[in-house]
């Protein structure tokens, strides 16, 4: 019974919707998420052709309210919720839960992102929903995992970055000694993990008919980004890791400041990092660029472009040797001065001709007009029901037979409430009563 799906192309509420063309065409997803990780994952699944119904509280999810430029519309929200339908409903109310249960029978996938105890309280946990739709794929994301002492703590990207080591890995402090915050990588990568888990579970269901519960967390995704640092490998770690852990324990016991300890850490774990001319950014006369040479042959090309000699790829090179460090630092200073003497365009051309991976340091806002971005059709143009035209990124990959596509702009709050409730048998009168009672919007 594709009742819900029928409304997608038919109703005026689906303004700007194109015919879904992606590999998930026909798959229906009920989204209970907010802020970044869950919304981004469901946007990506919508790009792949799935029909995504975003369940929001009647006042809108928090990200709608973050920097509103018209009431209930913010740029960060619109950036993460395109192609979805909006069902505004107060899930804390029993009548709303009944409506959700009727809807779940029509769904293939539920994506949920609450603290572990919330779903059961709202009667939208896996055990409650599975009897209604036995082959349901239920994707459950939490901040810190469902078990353990932190399971019920609230966690946003910044908190997980701190707790996972990502923040200290950045290793930068401001002028007052406070750690600096990287972009929301725990959220972004968790979004990708949710999308992968959904597709893998759909594949398994297509093969066997079996649904299941899929779990991930911001914490495991943040850790996965740092596999090399988290990983314990006694044969390779030698004394370095042990001395780091000893120093850390001692620093914590003595109340050493975070900024001071970072210096100790760099001394232990990053000895020799100061003399690197091959994989780094440089200041030029008029700006900055980065080069990325990670193999012996590319490093030789860097030296050729710069016309410098360096024993980096000769036998016996030891970055930890103090004499070598003096050589490396002197070379680094010389190269930095050489590069500052010319413009970014000059060096870009030289390194490009020399076969070295290179790019000027661009600002994200410049990329909309970058010929590389345009040549690969990385942008799409959409029309939002309330706020007009917008240009945003295309789905992050292409497929030859089932091309993903941004299906439409983000929905205004509750745009599709009536159509969605109507599709599971609610009459206009019943919907009006629910609205009058403040259960839906």
């Amino acid at each position: 019974m594709p009742a819900v799906g029928e409304h997608r192309s038919a109703g005026p509420e689906a303004k700007g919707t194109t015919m879904a063309s992606g590999p998930l065409n026909g798959v229906r997803i009920l989204e209970f998420t907010q802020i970044i990780a869950g919304p981004m994952s469901c946007q990506m699944l919508s790009d792949l052709g799935a029909e995504v119904i975003k369940v929001e509280p009647p006042q809108g999810e928090p990200w709608r309210l973050q920097g509103q430029f018209v009431p209930l519309e913010s740029k960060v929200f619109q950036a993460l919720n395109r192609g979805k339908r909006s069902l505004a409903i107060d899930v804390a109310q029993p009548k709303a839960q009944q409506a959700i249960h009727r809807l779940v029978r029509e769904m293939d996938v539920v994506v949920i992102n609450y603290r572990p105890d919330v779903a059961a309280r709202l009667h939208i946990d896996y055990d409650t929903l599975r009897p209604l739709k036995p082959d349901l794929v239920y994707v459950d994301n939490t901040a810190f995992g469902r078990a353990g002492p932190w399971a019920n703590r609230p966690g946003y990207d910044i908190v997980v970055q701190a707790a996972s080591g990502l923040m200290s890995s950045v290793g930068k402090v401001d002028e007052k000694g406070t750690p600096v915050v990287p972009p929301a990588f725990a959220d972004f990568t968790t979004a990708y993990a949710i999308a992968i888990g959904t597709c893998a579970a759909l594949f398994h269901r297509a093969m066997t008919g079996q649904g299941q519960q899929v779990e991930t967390s911001l914490l495991i995704n943040a850790l996965n980004l740092q596999q090399g640092q988290v990983m314990s490998l006694p044969a390779a770690d030698a004394a370095q890791k042990a001395s780091f852990m000893e120093a850390l324990t001692a620093a914590r016991a003595s109340g050493t400041s975070y900024a001071d300890f970072l210096k100790q850490r760099d001394g232990i774990l990053r000895a020799g990092a100061g003399g690197n001319i091959y994989y780094r950014s440089y200041l030029t006369q008029d700006g900055a660029f980065a080069i990325g040479a990670l193999s012996a042959s590319l490093r030789a090309k860097v030296r050729a472009v710069l016309a410098v000699e360096h024993n980096r790829d000769e036998p016996g090179y030891n970055a930890g040797d103090p004499e070598q460090q003096r050589i490396d630092l002197a070379l680094t200073e010389r190269v930095e001065a050489m590069i500052r003497a010319h413009t970014t365009a000059y060096w870009e051309q030289r390194f490009e001709q020399g076969g070295v991976p290179v790019s000027p340091v661009y600002f994200a806002q410049e990329l909309e007009t970058h010929p590389q971005v345009l040549a690969n059709d990385y942008l799409v143009h959409l029309e939002h029901d309330l706020t007009g035209p917008q240009t945003m990124l295309a789905p992050p990959w292409k497929m030859s037979e089932t091309p993903p596509a941004a299906q439409s702009a983000a929905p205004p709050l509750g745009r599709d409430t009536d159509a969605i409730l109507g599709s599971v048998g609610y009459s206009a009168d019943e919907i009006a009563t629910l609205r009058a009672d403040g259960i839906v919007r």
Binding site: K75, P154, G197, Q210, S232, S281
Partner: protein, 432 residues
Amino acid sequence: MFELKGRAVASGPLDGITVLEFTQIIAGPIACQHLADMGAEVIKVEPPEGEPWRQFSQFMPGEAKFFQSLNRGKRSLVLALQDPEAQAIVHRLIPQIDVVVVNYRPDVPARLHIDYDTLSAIRPDLIYVDNTAFGRRGPWAHRPGYDIVAQAVSGLMAGEGKVDAQGAPAMIRSTAIADYGTGLAIAWGVCAALFHRQRRGEGQLISSSLLHTALSFQGAAVFDLPAADATVGPRMERVHALQAQGVSYPEVLDAYDPTRTLLAGNIYYRPYATKDGAIAIGALSPSLWAKVRQAVGTEFLGIADPKFNPMDAAWRANASAAVAAVETTLRSKTTDEWMAIFDRDGVPAGPVHFAEDMLDDPQVQANGMIVELEHDLSGPQRQVGPILGFSKTPLAAQGASPPLGRDSDEYVRRAGYSDAEIAAFRERGVIA
């Protein structure tokens, strides 16, 4: 079937799927490691000297920690792909392969006769992932690109807004984010395409790039929305005017993000130094903001203030003083003392940990996020396990990474070659 040492029985949703991997460094290898965790059999094709990451910081010949962290659960097939006989081996293997993942510059696969057109003629329902640095078209298509270059090109590095002591841009160095993100995109694309193949019997070509992934992480910045963007145009015009004048990178950054050097009255979503370390608070709603104010004992509203205006010098001066007072308060107690207070008041907060600490962290342990493996050559290791839990088809790290060429003979035999032919290939350096 060859018995993989330390290999668990594959149990994930991709059990029975075979993947042929032609990738190196981070993005492709982590993608295929995700697929191996999901139960796919992943055959990593490497050159006779091993892929570059085996050699980067070797702790024993051909083995590096970075490599081992990105290649677990795979099998290693060494082929000198420039040799037509090695290409013939690939072509004879393809009928047994469901998915090919390639990560070369756009012209390379055709030169090696492992491009989509060649391989899909052998196996029409093949799923073929072609990842590049900058996309297959456009002026940058043929440029080499690593994570750091993608960071620079995509705006991530400038968006980070940090400079070093000399004013040069600071790269994001906690992780190779364009690479790791692209690895996730590839794994996800493969799963979606497998789903489609299962329903419709059709394979296809999937293309992804580091540039596109890096852009996707900046969805609100690479997003032109005229109704909301009144200030973006003039700000970028000023940035471009300064760039044209050739002023320093930090000056350009100041124009790009005028609030870069001050915290602009934000006391709610940021790290703080404490008496004995550091802590991060992440409060993103008015109700959580109120809890933060209660927990730290301040009346200062900051971004919750209806009169919030970081562009106004007077407002900014007041805000700076108030933020400094909150910072002083945070420095007056230890991280543990603050965590107790924040837990009591329901404020999202966490101590700033080091990644190396996380192996034995009770939260990480309680959720089974760490796996123990045994490497054929370098012995025991512990690392971050699969990023997804599946109730019916549990994921598992299928084994540690393979020593170089461990499984070459096995797969060349599977492609239909005799022991004598295999010996001859080995003699000539076609395989190793």
